[in-house]
């Protein structure tokens, strides 16, 4: 990825789009996927499907630099030029597998910290803003409870509160979500889809990895199954080797 900052301003104010070309990623010795292409634009939703271990999480992490891409290029679609990694990070809100909250701090304190990190709050935001966000996701009563005492579902709702706050300021137009509906009940899932809808309708974009198909939303929607990009050559050559050694033994 080159260091041209041409797409920087465009990304910060409005999201033009992100294109990935010929992406490849390996985990240790195993190549997870290669020759992967994708394109996402403002208002668009890209769904990553595939079973566990096929590279959905790794791709999301690679997009913000938490995993190394073996090859390929990410570029902004309007300018067409490469994006500086930090510029992309600043335009992205990433929610990974891990709960990403401190067990010793309360739900509200955790929310305050992550919101600041997301630029969703300026310094010393009023408590009311945080309380409102927690109320929206149904965590009002858990406001001052230490995060380690929350259930998995409640922690997932804390993630939703983070999204709700991010919607207020729209500083992060691209959302990357890894299994966001895990541990959520029906009400929680409905809320997630609602937040996603609002985000997309305002011109944001989202790339969501899930091994369950999520049905939602209007707007342009692309589905990418990572299994389609798994390396096939390797499987073939292993078979060829086995055939060869069988012949050699037989002769």
């Amino acid at each position: 990825m080159t260091r041209e900052a041409a797409a920087l301003d465009a990304i910060e104010i409005e999201f033009d789009g992100l294109t990935g070309q010929d992406l490849a990623l390996s985990r240790g010795d195993r190549r997870l996927f290669e020759h992967l292409h994708f394109k996402i634009e403002a208002g668009g939703l890209l769904v990553l499907l595939g079973p566990n271990g096929c590279g959905k999480s790794s791709l999301l992490r690679a997009l913000i630099g938490l995993a190394p891409l073996q090859s390929g290029q990410l570029s902004g679609s309007r300018s067409g030029s490469s994006i500086e990694p930090d510029a992309l990070r600043r335009a992205t809100l990433f929610q990974g597998h891990a709960s990403a909250c401190k067990g010793e701090l309360s739900a509200m304190e955790n929310l305050a910290l992550s919101a600041r990190l997301d630029d969703a709050l300026i310094d010393r935001a009023p408590k009311s803003v945080l309380s409102d966000a927690l109320a929206v996701v149904g965590l009002s009563r858990q406001r001052d409870i230490e995060a380690r005492r929350l259930s998995q579902g409640q922690r997932q709702r804390l993630h939703l509160a983070r999204l709700a706050l991010a919607l207020r300021t729209q500083t992060r137009p691209l959302w990357l979500m890894d299994e966001p509906s895990a541990a959520l009940d029906d009400a929680g899932t409905a809320l997630l889809l609602q937040l996603l809808d609002t985000h997309l309708s305002r011109g944001g974009a989202a790339i969501v990895a899930t091994h369950l198909p999520i049905s939602t939303t209007r707007g342009p929607r692309t589905v990418l199954n990572l299994q389609d990009f798994a390396p096939k050559r390797h499987a073939r050559s292993v078979q060829a080797e086995m055939a060869e050694s069988a012949c050699a033994d037989g002769s």
Binding site: G28, D29, P68, H234
Partner: protein, 241 residues
């Protein structure tokens, strides 16, 4: 001739294979010459007797330990800035030899110290610095072997080396200060009255021998590393069939 061609493991491998014997032979010849000069030709030192001859091993080893560290640091810059895979492999290939040189320098320094100062170890500035250098090598080796992901290991090791190389002059300076403050013994040969010409020649020959040896072993190790890391590529599979 485009030298950058050889930055790819695939093209470097056969080159390393061809060059290695030359360096190995050169090392043996130079060592033989150096040892002959050092142990045969050079005159007996009137202060220290025959024992001083150990410097023909001690000094070249100490020089090489330092020099190899600098070369590794150079490769580390290439690894971090240009993500050069071969540079990372060369760093790893050189490390054990560098550590060995430091260890030899310490061991021979100790042997020299005993008859001269009556102690198996002297906290001399240079010996202490060499000890710290050995620990820097061991730290690097420990770090790269503790990290399973090769790319992370390469880059982490490279960063560690660069931090180390910046600190080496600081460490050396501080140890010298500490030593002079406490008026410790000094094993420095350069402060001794003029060295005989033959002694210098002997040390030079041994230094070159150590250099050739280091290159030969590094080439050998890097070839093994290349085969291991590139084992999924077609050219390696064909080679090992």
């Amino acid at each position: 001739m485009n030298l950058f061609r050889y930055a790819a493991p695939q093209t470097f491998y056969p080159l390393a294979q061809r060059l290695q014997p030359f360096f190995a032979v050169a090392a043996v010849l130079l060592a033989a010459a150096g040892l002959y000069v050092g142990f045969g030709l050079a005159p007996t030192d009137f202060q220290q007797g025959e024992v001083y001859r150990i410097i023909f091993i001690h000094v070249p080893a100490a020089w090489m330990a330092m020099f190899i560290y600098l070369v590794m640091a150079g490769y580390s810059v290439l690894t971090l800035v240009w993500r050069s895979r071969l540079s990372a492999m060369m760093t790893r290939a050189l490390a054990p030899t560098g550590a060995l040189m430091a260890a030899i320098a310490l061991f021979t320094g100790s042997i020299w110290g005993k008859p001269t100062w009556g102690a198996w170890w002297v906290w001399d500035a240079r010996l202490t610095s060499t000890l710290v250098l050995l620990f820097l090598y061991l730290g690097y080796l420990a770090l790269v072997s503790a990290i399973e992901d090769t790319q992370r290991a390469d880059r982490a090791g490279a960063l560690l080396l660069l931090v180390g190389v910046v600190n080496v002059p600081i460490i050396y300076f501080s140890v010298r200060w500490w030593n002079t403050l406490h008026q410790g013994a000094s094993v420095s040969l350069t402060t001794a009255p003029k060295m005989a010409q033959t002694m210098l020649t002997g040390m030079l020959l041994m230094s070159l021998a150590a250099w050739m040896y280091s290159i030969a072993t590094a080439l050998h190790r890097v070839r093994t590393l290349i085969l291991d890391r590139e084992r999924h590529t077609r050219w390696v599979r064909q080679l090992t069939r």
